[in-house]
């Protein structure tokens, strides 16, 4: 039995003549991202329907709680109201990440299982960090920051600066990918075990039951608690947390 783990499927490609960028592939990543965005947006719309000032519904209480949590999350990690403008950004990042991670539970391929997604997010965060640093110390101060504390360390400083988005992207991607790999291995392992176990039954019944992977029912759900639920929530949280902390640190100079 061959176990094959591949990247996202490409539904079709739009041919462009642009060199280097190449054709536009409409892959699972893109399509599922749209689904994720639709889910988030529809949830927001449903939650904020019929908003009332008094006698609020449970739905509204949940929406208010989400907003308050986002506000507190950003304010506690930056220590003040200075970065209130970032609240929707961090919320969008977190919600995209968590819904993308958990959407694999309904059988779709997570957009976060494609490094392009995390790389895109990490690059945006990196640009914001750099922008904050330049805003805090000016272009000269920013560039001079690389020679601290001694000029010899400049290459290492540049390396560590570039490492920030790469590590963010790869941390998130690696966790999700490892979940997929391990889930696939567990599935195929259990299928093989099931095949071997029911192969012990002699005759036609045995060879029939061999074809049905009974053991794959139930056990992956237990491992899924960690590899899908915990990792999914944790990585979304870590990514948002790092984003806000890096930006807050950058502003401090």
């Amino acid at each position: 039995m061959d176990v094959d783990i591949t990247g996202a499927r490409i539904f079709f490609t739009i041919h462009t003549g642009i060199p280097w960028l190449g054709d536009i592939p409409i892959s699972e990543t893109i399509v599922v991202t749209w689904i994720v965005m639709a889910v988030i947006t529809i949830t927001c719309i449903v939650l904020t329907r019929n908003l009332k000032v008094e006698n609020i519904s449970k739905k509204q209480a949940l929406a208010e709680m989400l907003v308050e949590t986002a506000n507190n999350f950003v304010r506690n990690n930056t220590g003040g109201n200075k970065f209130d403008g970032l609240i929707p950004f961090v919320s969008a990042l977190f919600s995209l990440s968590i819904v993308s991670n958990l959407i694999s539970l309904v059988g779709l391929r997570s957009p976060t299982a494609d490094l392009s997604t995390e790389a895109a997010w990490a690059v945006v965060v990196f640009i914001m960090i750099t922008a904050e640093k330049i805003k805090a110390g000016g272009v000269g101060g920013y560039l001079l920051g690389f020679t601290q504390p001694i000029p010899v360390l400049t290459p290492f400083n540049i390396l560590s600066e570039i490492a920030t988005p790469i590590s963010m992207a790869c941390r998130h991607f690696g966790n999700i990918l490892s979940g997929i790999v391990i889930n696939t291995l567990i599935y195929s392992g259990l299928t093989l075990a099931s095949h071997a176990l029911f192969g012990l039954i002699p005759g036609a019944i045995g060879s029939f039951l061999q074809q049905i992977p009974f053991l794959t029912v139930g056990i992956p759900a237990i491992t899924g608690v960690y590899f899908d639920w915990f990792t999914g929530v944790m990585q979304a949280f870590i990514f948002s947390m790092l984003t806000i902390m890096y930006i807050a640190n950058a502003a401090e100079g």
Binding site: P25, T41, C44
Partner: protein, 167 residues
């Protein structure tokens, strides 16, 4: 179906995901944060307004209470004044009445005394008159006797009769 490699960065997907991220930022801002923050602001305004209203009405109530207390105090004072004036009046009147009565009594007493005195005087005068009369009578009788024994006798008799009558 064609698949992309497991670990790769597809330039178009990369660009699309950046755009998707910003679209999501806009959507989440527009559909979650804007309405909720507006509502929270409205609620805060309402709470502030209600607090102000409550404060104002409390102030009004306090003013009213003070006014009432003032009025009640005034009413108490008035009542006390009325009561004391009534008491004074009653005292005055009773004093007056007492004095009146006393005066009357004194009056009556003096009148009675005067009456008694008068009566006494009258009686004395009467007695005096009587005695005078008697003396005159007696004198007359005495004079008559000398004239007429018989008459004298008769006079004595009549005198005695008169005296008997008078007594």
């Amino acid at each position: 179906m064609e698949t992309q490699p497991l670990v790769t960065i597809v330039p178009w997907t990369f660009i699309a995901q950046i755009l998707n991220l910003f679209i999501q930022v806009y959507l989440i801002k527009r559909f979650l944060f804007k309405p909720i923050n507006e509502m929270l602001e409205k609620r805060q305004k309402l709470a502030t307004k209600e607090l102000d209203d409550a404060r104002a009405s409390k102030e009004a109530a306090d003013a009213l209470k003070e006014d009432y207390e003032h009025r009640i105090e005034k009413a108490h004072d008035e009542a006390a004044a009325i009561v004391s004036s009534a008491q004074k009046e009653a005292e005055l009147r009773s004093d007056e009445m007492l004095a009146d009565t006393q005066a009357q009594i004194v009056n009556m007493k003096s009148k009675a005394e005067a009456d008694i005195e008068h009566e006494k005087k009258k009686a004395i005068n009467e007695v005096k008159d009587e005695i005078g009369g008697i003396a005159m009578d007696i004198a007359g009788k005495v004079v008559e006797k000398e004239i007429n024994e018989e008459d004298h006798r008769r006079l004595i008799d009549s005198f005695i009769e008169n005296v008997g009558e008078a007594s």
